[in-house]
Amino acid sequence: MKLSIQINEGPYQHQASDSAYMFTKAALEKGHEIFRVFFYHDGVGNGTRLTTPPQDDRNIVNRWADLADEYKLDMVVCVAAAQRRGIVDEGEAERNKKDATNIQPQFRISGLGQLIEAAVQSERLVVFGD
């Protein structure tokens, strides 16, 4: 079945990203298709490559990135939410005259239409939040 995932919270503060990751991984291992993982609200914080947790803790960002590499996941960070919270790719840095980027390469920044499209195209939308 074709599923999409919406994540409303950033890493570490809430379990939402962990739960979504475990769910997504289980769905992929069962042979389901993940059409898109959409990061919204503080969920955009899952997409910064600058995250550096202590060595004995899980690296939530890298874990998503590895899953994306393995299964060619489409992981989208909402542009409006990302701009508010300082998640920046090269295009955004140029547009908004910022001197740095921090997006993890497996994520892409795009519009809210991507969430709507995911809901239209997928048979299930599963939301993880606070």
Partner: protein
């Protein structure tokens, strides 16, 4: 697939301002309106506070986004279900809410109310009838 029309319900259960959920979910509604899906909004629990009239953020330093709800009708978003029990639990009635309307193209642009107060059990049935429920 792009031709298919789904029933989308945006489930609003958060008060405005204390967190950004209400505002950012409204942004999804506005973007989503361009997609030609059958859209409705439900205001449940503290979500009813989002559409209370008389919001004034002039002394709090953030944007008053409540006027945006009045614009929803122009985006063909005109099914706003407000849960009766949620209102009553919070000491509110429909008179405390903004008067949100839309113009019906099929009836010579007659102005109609967007808000419909429904009971909890009616809303449960409305939710069950949806294809997708968005939660924020």
């Amino acid at each position: 697939m792009s031709e298919q029309i789904k029933k989308f319900l945006y489930l609003n259960r958060r008060a405005p301002y204390g967190t950004i959920y209400a505002w950012e979910s409204l942004e999804v509604v506005l973007i989503g309106a361009a997609f030609d899906q059958k859209v409705s909004l439900a205001f449940v629990d503290d979500g009813v506070f989002e559409i209370v009239k008389g919001q004034d953020t002039s002394e709090s330093g953030f944007k008053n986004f409540s006027p945006t709800y009045a614009a929803l009708g122009d985006y063909d978003v005109n099914q706003l279900f407000v849960e009766k029990e949620s209102l009553e639990e919070r000491g509110l009635s429909i008179d405390d809410l903004m008067h949100l309307t839309w113009e019906d193209e099929d009836e010579d642009w007659a102005e109609k109310d967007s808000i419909r107060v429904v009971s909890r059990s009616e809303l449960s049935e409305i939710m069950a009838d949806q294809d997708v429920v968005f939660s924020f």
